[in-house]
Point group: C2
Chain length 339, copies 2
DNA sequence: CTGTTAGCGCGTTCAG
DNA sequence: CTGAACGCGCTAACAG
């Protein structure tokens, strides 16, 4: 391995001078700089950032802990994080928890061991311990996508409650009164906020809670399928389904297809999270779309501002708006019929 | 920051004893071990892997350079890499080149600076220099998905030529004689291999090359759209399109929809790469499906075997088979008609 | 503008 | 089974 000392010897200078050239720190004579750069090229020298970080106590690396990179929503968030980090000269280590707290803890330890400068965390569950652990290591953290009550930390998330409220109002305005919610897990704030928005809209419209059951499951296709089967077994059958995220929506579509039901002719369906426009030929689902890329980007920028001491002292809670995108799956105004 | 020395002092032992407990190396008395572990818990000590790696010259980290994590094909490959690495206690740093050689070079330098133990590289272009650079840093590399002629390195890829050959044979067996290939860029082996397989099948069937034009573009939706517009402008119009990858296929579907053409009634369409089954409600495209997850997994296992000196001395070339999945988009046997 | 000194936190070497 | 000394490659702090 070629070290900074080899380069220094080759260029006839001290190691620290090479260091200054590499890092553009301090003053270096143009001619010495040229000599050093020539030596670097000659020897094919590549600095060892491990040693640099050990000394400087900065790694230029952020940790991103999220639940499932297979979900295009998170892929998009990750691109936002990656782009913002890259612009600032930072790298990102990506960790998938698959919603498991054990995996999350494992990765938190890995990230602390690797001395990342900061962490972006999508918490697997609403608990303050992980946040406290990161902070106990003198590391900055920004919570992404989900709230954690009583936690002292920055948060960047989307307005799940408001989005669900609006989406439910849309269904109500189309004449639906029997709406089933296919929700994600209890204990995850996004799932609970969407249920809350759903219920607020229903309460305002005076709809009986019994006509609007909430089924809790996971944010997965299989769960969406199972919850739909459950919802369809009710009598009378709901006239509309509200899917708690994009995978639940796909599972619901499959279950409806397998049950021989057409959307929206036989049943209306709306969902949370859009699928990336690049992956779908004919967007069809009416959804509350979240600014995934922007959320990743803003969270990263906030984290970087904290690291450089530019952020305001108080913890921030940034809530990005969701946008209702009306397509075919919500259907036209419902014909009046006897329930 | 809590260091190994603090723990040692707290437990009344020497730092090296703590080190032995952490790394399970050498013999440590059970009682001493318990005391040390208690001290670690008391102080909330987290080892600094930077310092460890600096000393041991191993980081337990792999670099994965690919073209675009937004493409579900690559997301799946990345999961295969991640899972195999994680099983062996390794971490992965992910880098997106967006098919740019400049980005690739930038990331290669970053990875070398970070002293990764090995690199998995999806080369942006067929060139040996990047391979040589990695090897000049005494770092192992496995090339993923694409061939590089004359390179001395392990390769794990799929059988693009064979898959394209079979897919073309399928179209020929359905009676198609005017088939347009919507290809990825020249200079990328997967694109060129698919063209080669396409042409081999046509030549065997005695189809005139003029009836089977090849349009070169990029592996993107926009390019797929543009190439399709181009192909449709020919007279006589092709009766079938062959999309060089999944994004090109989606672009083609949109272009056909916008042109008022139905698939497969007006035109047949086949593609390379399946979309993840989780993202599609009704799989519709006839494709040559590649074992993306398996490719990532096997490449990583080969790389790890190299690192541990278990791999055979000679460079390996592992070629995984593609599977033809026949669905609606290829259509039924073509009715005879005058060309 | 350049160099010297010292030490980041840890693990290898060799000695008890 | 445990410990002392040394150095991995680099840079902060302080001279000159």
């Amino acid at each position: 391995m070629v070290t900074i000392r080899d380069v220094a010897k080759h260029a006839g200078v001290a190691p620290i001078t090479v260091s200054r050239v590499i890092n553009n720190s301090g003053y270096v004579n143009e001619k010495t700089r040229a000599r050093v750069e020539a030596a670097i090229a000659d020897l094919g020298y590549v600095p060892n950032v491990l040693a640099r970080s050990l000394r400087s106590r900065r790694t230029g690396t952020l940790g991103l802990i999220l639940t499932d990179i297979s979900n295009p929503f998170w892929t998009t968030v990750a691109r936002g994080v990656e782009d913002a980090a890259s612009d600032a000269g930072f790298n990102v280590i990506l960790c998938n928890t698959d919603e498991s707290e054990a995996e999350q803890d494992k990765y938190l330890h890995v990230l602390m061991q690797k001395q990342v400068d900061g962490v972006l965390l999508v918490p697997a569950r609403s608990a303050v311990e992980p946040i406290k652990f990161i902070q106990s290591q003198n590391t900055c953290v920004v919570v992404l996508d989900r709230r954690i009550s009583n936690s002292q930390a920055d948060v960047v998330r989307c307005d799940s409650e408001g989005g669900a409220y609006q989406l439910t109002r849309l269904l109500l305005s189309l004449g639906h009164r029997r709406i089933a919610m296919l929700s994600g897990p209890q204990g995850v704030s996004t799932a609970e906020d969407r249920v809350a928005g759903f219920r607020r809209a229903l309460a305002e419209a005076g709809v009986d809670a019994a006509a609007a059951p909430v089924y809790y499951g996971k944010f997965s296709l299989e769960s969406g399928y199972a919850l739909t089967v459950q919802a369809l077994s009710e009598t009378p059958r709901p006239s509309a389904l509200f899917a708690g995220n994009n995978f639940i929506a796909i599972g619901a579509l499959r279950a409806l297809r397998d049950a021989g039901l057409r959307v929206p002719e036989d049943l209306a369906l709306v969902g949370f999270d859009d699928l990336p426009t690049d992956l779908v030929v004919d967007p069809f689902l009416t959804v509350a779309a979240q600014p995934a890329y922007e959320m990743g980007r803003q969270a990263t920028e906030l984290l970087l501002a904290r690291l450089s001491g530019e952020a305001p002292a108080a913890y921030q809670e940034i809530v990005l708006p969701t946008a209702i995108v009306v397509r075919e799956s919500s259907g036209p105004v419902l014909e009046r019929r006897d329930d």
